[in-house]
Amino acid sequence: MASPLEQFAIQPVSAPLFSIGGHSIAVTNSALFMMAAVVVSSGLLLAGAGKGSMIPGRIQAMAELFYEFIANMIRDNVGGGGKKFFPFIFSLFIFTLFGNILGMIPYGFTFTSHIAVTFFMAMVVFLGVTLIGLFKHGLHFFSLFFPHGAPLFTAPILIPIELVSYLSRPISLSVRLFANMTVGHVLLKVLAGFVVALGFFGVVPLVVLVAITALELLVAVLQAYIFTILCCIYLNDALHLH
């Protein structure tokens, strides 16, 4: 039986195209699924945005649902000043969501199950948010690390705690998504192995597999949502300092 980790292997599907800083870049299965996520999501959303009729059809209703969902998320969690980040947050959600969901296709690839991808996204958000906070508030931004109204003598304890919790944000943000997607797919693979190994009695793990597949679809949507809403919350912290 193949290792359940084999599905995460990154394999080139083309000859190396060029190299950047000594690293040769080829189209890989991961890259293909990123492209697929972009093409499928943009295709659906462009189709939904296309006509812009007063009474939306199915695709338009779906596109508007996404739009309103993220717009409300930003309105509720970021508030004033959050509107200019709407396209970025929206793209982040769509990219993560479609990456997670397309990964559910059997024999597919889940690029969000790779720490390199999730950590890079989390780092971009983290650094971006920190820079936004510094530009907006200057040195006052560092008051984020000391809760307003706390007694001054607690500063030696509180500031390191807040600092560590702030610095661990990109780690928790990226590991949460990566670990959830990885574990889900490992689980599916292991169960699928049981179905084959148990012969006739493989029906039992098959039923479980179907149920877990449904659960993993839920997890795929939920983790995209969690990733996005946490970015909104971090952005809110930087814009409004608690």
Binding site: S3, L5, E6, F8, A9, I10, I20, G21, H23, S24, I25, A26, V27, T28, S30, A31, M34, M35, A37, V38, S41, S42, L45, L46, G48, A49, G50, G52, S53, M54, P56, Q60, A63, E64, Y67, E68, F86, P87, F88, F90, S91, I94, F95, F111, S113, H114, I115, A116, V117, F120, M121, A179, T182, V183, G184, L187, V190, A211, I212, L215
Partner: protein
């Protein structure tokens, strides 16, 4: 939910097992050599997606939603206006109806007053004519009575003179008239 519990336990086992497995089987996620390519494609794909969303998709959807909200608001306003107009028309109608009703009742009152005045005038006229007739009749009766009474006195004198003449007494007509007069006066209460 048993499914979730199962998932959690397997996930926990996997999480504990993963570092070991990563070392044993070499988890592809920790293959540093594969990082640059992933990050490159991530940046490219995300940039394309961001461009498409920011320039094409989101403005269009935003415009559609906004224009729909405008339309709904305009329709609601129009409905409100129509409602107000209908209410105003209703109120006008009610006012006109009340006015007409007032006019009608005024007309009825006037007509009944006029009729009452006419009938009382006629009654008065008839009454006066009757009173005039009655007075004329009474006057006539009174005249006849005085005539009759006057005739009665002379007749009584004539009769008394005749009786006295028959009886062979003196018949001074003046004396007889005086006696008759006295008798008539004495006969009255």
């Amino acid at each position: 939910m048993p499914v979730q519990a199962l998932r959690t336990s397997v996930a926990a086992a996997a999480l504990i097992g993963l570092p070991i497995a990563a070392q044993a089987a070499g988890m592809p996620q920790f293959d540093v050599k594969a990082f640059p390519s992933q990050i490159f494609w991530l940046v490219v794909c995300f940039a394309v997606l961001y461009f498409l969303m920011a320039k094409l998709v989101l403005p269009r959807i935003g415009k559609t939603i906004e224009s729909r909200e405008h339309k709904i608001q305009a329709d609601l306003d129009a409905a409100q206006k129509a409602n107000d107009a209908a209410r105003a028309t209703g109120a006008e109608q009610d006012k006109a109806l009340a006015e007409a009703r007032g006019q009608a009742s005024g007309l009825i009152r006037e007509a009944s007053e006029a009729a009452a005045a006419q009938s009382s005038a006629k009654l008065h006229e008839v009454g006066e004519r009757l009173a005039g007739d009655i007075a004329a009749a009474e006057r006539r009766i009174g005249e006849q009575r005085t005539q009759t009474l006057a005739g009665l006195a002379s007749m009584s004198t004539d009769i008394a003179t005749a009786v006295l003449g028959k009886l062979g007494g003196s018949s001074d007509p003046a004396q007889v008239a005086r006696a008759v007069d006295e008798a008539a006066k004495a006969g009255k209460p």
